[in-house]
């Protein structure tokens, strides 16, 4: 988060805003400690029902979308690391991405990283029926979790994971809610799930340049 603050301080004079949304079923209780560690003056929101994940069909964090002054998407969701803390795991260079954002903040829609409508439509894939069903199962699980019925939420989280197996959000959020019981409840863990990927990358490859 201090990384995003640095970038925001640099670019806020260019009609540029950052909205950072915590995908946390536990709400402020879980997310706040991360926010208050540093003084932030960009917008940080709490999304207890993973609404943004559903609306933009996201499967992972950190993920970002670029939206222009007219409220239109100019880059679809893609992995968005602000620093190289986990570079050993995913191999993505943060500075390439931050430079692309700088280019956009300066040049707006004329930026070389702003995609044409045709390319956007090609990159934005329609949400599958199963993903909509998965989102409903996940949301019902969250409703039960919020009522303190954590155990009874688990079958719904499992169903969401089955219907949308690419979603790390559905896996990792559900495990986090089960705490130390997670491995027992879900009969898996992060390491095992990463292994299942085989040669598939953890994040969908980022295609920064126009094609």
């Amino acid at each position: 988060m201090p990384g995003w603050q640095t970038l925001y301080t640099e670019l806020k004079g260019k009609n540029f805003a950052i909205i950072s949304v915590a995908q946390d079923t536990g709400g402020a209780k879980d997310a706040a400690p991360w926010i208050t560690k540093t003084k932030l003056d960009y917008t940080v929101l709490i999304d207890e029902t993973h609404q943004v994940t559903r609306l933009y069909d996201m499967v992972n964090v950190p993920t970002a979308i670029w939206i222009n002054e007219k409220g239109r998407i100019v880059r679809p969701n893609e992995v968005a690391y602000v620093d190289n803390r986990y570079k050993a795991l995913h191999g993505l260079e943060a500075s390439e991405y931050l430079n692309a954002i700088r280019d956009w903040a300066t040049n707006g829609d004329k930026s070389q990283y702003v995609l044409s409508e045709d390319e956007l439509r090609e990159r934005l894939t329609p949400q599958k029926e199963e993903h909509a069903q998965a989102a409903a199962e996940f949301a019902l699980g969250e409703y039960l979790s919020h009522k303190g019925l954590e155990k009874d939420a688990i079958p719904h989280y499992k169903e969401a994971q089955r219907l949308n197996p690419d979603s790390w959000n559905y896996k990792r959020q559900a495990w986090a809610l089960s705490g130390t019981e997670a491995e027992k409840e879900y009969n898996t863990n992060f390491g095992k799930e990463v292994q299942k990927l085989g040669k598939k990358p953890y994040y969908a490859p980022r295609r920064l340049k126009k094609e």
Binding site: M1, V61, W66, I67
Partner: protein, 167 residues
Amino acid sequence: MWKQSSAISVLLFFLIAGITAFAETKSLTVIYDEKPTAVKAMLTETKDVWITMKDLTRATRFVVKPQGVCRDELCFPLPKAQKSNFIKKQGSVQWFNLSEFARLVQQPVAFNEQHTTWYFGARAQAQNAHLESLEAPNFTLPDVQGKKHSLSDFRGKKVLLVTWASW
């Protein structure tokens, strides 16, 4: 005499039918557009949820009109031949099959019978509306102090929308 007894049996029939219908109703929580509403519902064997027209509007803001099931400018016409799958009258009460309607509009439904909770989710088709318009779907969420912010408040600025999580 004949007339009277048949009238009584007709009355009895309705009375029993009424009682049976009443005995079948359950208190359910219907979650629609993320908003939970307590309703009286009839549950079929296949777990279809029938609710009263009044509750339909209360829980979903949809209203049954001659042209279809409508909310704001949106109207879903009901297939004429299958109207009885959607609407039935029992005594003076009209019931609406919310599950059949969900199938018609291709809306996902998840339920937990133990906790009598039915979740009607967002339709994939509605979710995909932005693929054509490329307009970023709006949302309203609180910050850590509880103050609400909408994406649309940022119109006129370039917005980097980033998601993260504590987990």
